[in-house]
Symmetry: C2
């Protein structure tokens, strides 16, 4: 009664068998008479037996745990990735333990330590905005724990990674703005130590140049993902002698705020300023005007990263690869000028 759990031994005793035989019968190994197997499985079913994962894992020298390190859970992009990861990981019979770096390199380092102490069988990481080098992951490689970076990846280490096509996405978004007649397009870039942000910046620059427009450094600002800086950036843009007539923002949340402030300042979107966001977050469709954005398939990203990780877990020799997930430009009204007179 007292939380007494059924063990393999209980089954063995009731059936006058040895624990070895019961174990074999249950794990569908060979060397068991069909009859006894039936007996065992039936009794197991009846007693509602479930193997103790702790014992199994100790024997197998596996924790069946995947460690996940992300900047922030509440960030929709990451919670979506998490959902994707969770799906794959659960199907494999593994569990996830999560930790957030909270965008701090210090806690990220601590997280890595914790994961190692927890003996995770694999690690899924998206870097904090502060992370410059990848030294704190060297220890992980030493323990031969497979590791896959996603979205905010690292390029120093020879590990697998999965990213979205930031360069193309950015290029297409800016190209779209230009096609809508924008001549002075601003870009809110992310911290440049992260590759994906650098790629986006490059996409932006190339789109500007390839279309024969002037690349004005004054139109590029760097965000550090803080909410309260959006207002400052917007004010800055509007205060310029030649303010931008198009903005490619770092994410939807930022874009939505910009629209808010721009409208408040008496300008129209997309009339005076056309805007494109990033990530296709919730409700972008229902604001005024509906937000054009880049749909980044976070769920897909999570799934791919997890699958890649299991590839590495199942096959130690698997060479590191880089997978790129295609995003899609979603055009709504915040960037649609052609319809206007």
């Amino acid at each position: 009664m007292k939380g007494k759990r059924v063990t393999i031994k209980d089954i063995a005793e009731q059936l006058n068998l040895s624990t070895s035989t019961v174990s074999r019968a249950l794990t569908s190994h060979s060397d068991v008479k069909a009859e006894t197997r039936k007996l065992v499985t039936e009794l197991a079913e009846e007693l509602d037996y479930h193997p103790d994962p702790l014992a199994v894992n100790l024997k197998q020298r596996k924790t069946k745990i995947i460690g996940l390190i992300i900047p922030k859970i509440v960030n929709r992009f990451f919670s979506k990735s998490l959902a994707g990861i969770q799906e794959v990981v659960n199907r494999e019979g593994y569990n996830i333990i999560i930790s957030q770096s909270d965008e701090s390199i210090r806690t990220e380092k601590k997280n890595v330590e914790d994961m190692l102490a927890n003996r995770v069988d694999g690690l899924l990481v998206s870097l904090s905005k502060e992370t410059m080098s990848a030294d704190h992951f060297l220890k992980v490689l030493n323990t031969e724990t497979p590791i896959v970076f996603f979205d905010r990846v690292n390029e120093e280490l020879e590990t697998s990674r999965v990213i979205i096509d930031d360069y193309e996405a950015s290029y297409k978004a800016v190209d779209h703005l230009i096609k809508q007649g924008c001549k002075r397009i601003a870009h809110v870039a992310g911290p440049p130590n992260l590759v994906n942000n650098r790629n986006r910046l490059e996409g932006y620059k190339d789109a500007i140049r390839n279309n024969g427009l002037f690349l004005d450094k004054k139109l590029i600002v760097f965000s550090s993902y803080e909410n309260d800086e959006v207002k400052i950036h917007t004010k800055y843009f509007l205060s310029l002698k030649h303010p931008p007539d198009g903005i490619f923002a770092i994410n939807d949340s930022s874009a939505i705020q910009m629209i808010h402030y721009i409208k408040k300042a008496g300008f129209s979107v997309p009339g005076d300023v056309a805007i494109v966001g990033f990530n296709n977050e919730a409700n972008g469709e229902f604001i005024d005007p509906p937000l054009s954005t880049v749909d980044s398939p976070a769920l897909q990203l999570g799934k791919s990263a997890a699958r890649l990780l299991f590839d590495h877990i199942d096959n130690e020799e698997r060479p590191a690869t880089c997978e790129i997930i295609k995003s899609k430009l979603v055009i709504r009204e915040s960037s649609l000028r052609s319809k206007l007179t």
Copy 2:
């Protein structure tokens, strides 16, 4: 080299001690000479020894894992709760395994089974919208696994739970709308099998009645949290002979969509219809008009639920309690009529 981890045995051998002594030295039990303890801890440090959690847990008959069952990770309310839970759980040296019911009673049942098979030390649950009875949790009680429900709780079982003050929140929101001059207030209610939704509905009804207004059943619709039904509900409201002049919505996302459709239909918010949402989700502040809403402290909710769970884990005899977290009405422009002429 080959992933060889340092064990207690390695330390024992190098120091010519028994594993028992090393274990005692490390676990700060008594019966160890200060000198040897120093020796042991120093060598442990040097070798970067970390106890194998699997072995420890097997011996302790604990998994150090908390199971979490929520409807959807991507739902911001739940990802916020998760963040709160994660904070407390990590501090206690436990890990979380997550599973989503995806609002389906079938997968919720399966999730419970999985959690039990995983031998979680405690369970944190927020019910799916389909869950009527709590029979599938009886098994959990049998294993004497502590369980705490949060937000979408169950009242049949004698378990601890933590909820927000849905009744008061709802009452205050509706009362606020009435004070703004609304006479016909609609309510988008949630599935009535969940207590919190019933409480909100009661709060709504009482606020209407206590203010001497007519309680019109036609103004109450039931949402099932599906996105595409918002449009239908809005159209329905607008098509009424006497359409509502105020709406208390099920959540912000729904409220934002309603604003969108109402404006599109040529009505003004809050002029023709004042709107209050629920949850204080992201970006509600920046839409047009900024959304009034009920700030439900999801993070706090998660923390409290986790702490309550650990109370039960640490003390088997702890009686079940119900904790209520206070929400706060956030008034923005979507419900502010008094400022208008």
